[in-house]
Point group: C2
Chain length 120, copies 2
């Protein structure tokens, strides 16, 4: 829960890039995975999601908040602190995400092989 997020958490050469299985917006599933182990700050999320710009991360988090997937808690401190956490609904996405990841890694070889043969 207190452990820092792994900067390599999301491989730039993602297995799911073969046949994308997308949940919500482009970054939604990755945010859910980042929050799986507990609440995170905005700048903590930027570490594994280093390919995302602050604008898009804000957009994603606002949409997820609107949909009841995450909560946003701002602490009136200095320096400012904002924490995002999964709601039960957001947490319920984890099983679906896991299923998608399982399918992706299982099917990746077949898929890439089919593509290779297609352009033989």
């Amino acid at each position: 829960m207190a452990e820092p997020l792994d900067p390599e958490m999301f491989d730039p050469v993602c297995p799911s890039s073969a046949l994308p299985v997308q949940i919500g917006d482009k970054w939604t599933a990755m945010v859910v995975l980042c929050l799986e182990a507990g609440p995170r700050r905005f700048s903590e999320l930027k570490v594994p999601l280093r390919a995302v710009t602050p604008k898009v991360l804000t957009q994603t988090l606002r949409a997820m908040q609107r949909d009841g997937l995450v909560t946003r808690t701002a602490y009136d401190e200095n320096p400012p602190r904002v924490e995002y956490a999964l709601t039960p609904l957001g947490r319920s996405l984890l099983t679906l995400i896991d299923a998608a990841r399982a399918w992706s890694s299982a099917a990746r070889c077949c898929l890439l092989q089919a593509r290779a043969e297609h352009s033989h």
Copy 2:
């Protein structure tokens, strides 16, 4: 297998429009569902997918064929006949699609309620 596809198979007000869970391109999952019960012709697919244009349906089917999800069989008859069928890999997507549909219908109420409260 020989039964015609239901034109109302895909509700225009789709449950998954709340938080879209997308597999491959926009129409990929729907094509898989159309082919679940057996091979289908191009024009048969257009019936339940009446919101898709032939161009986009062709694109989708070509991509799925390239990825080894469907096979395309052209019969040299008159009038011409082309049949699309699921491969085992394409069929393996069904469990994932079912999981996505289950989550969507289970979460839809929560999601819409969260959105409503958000703009209360």
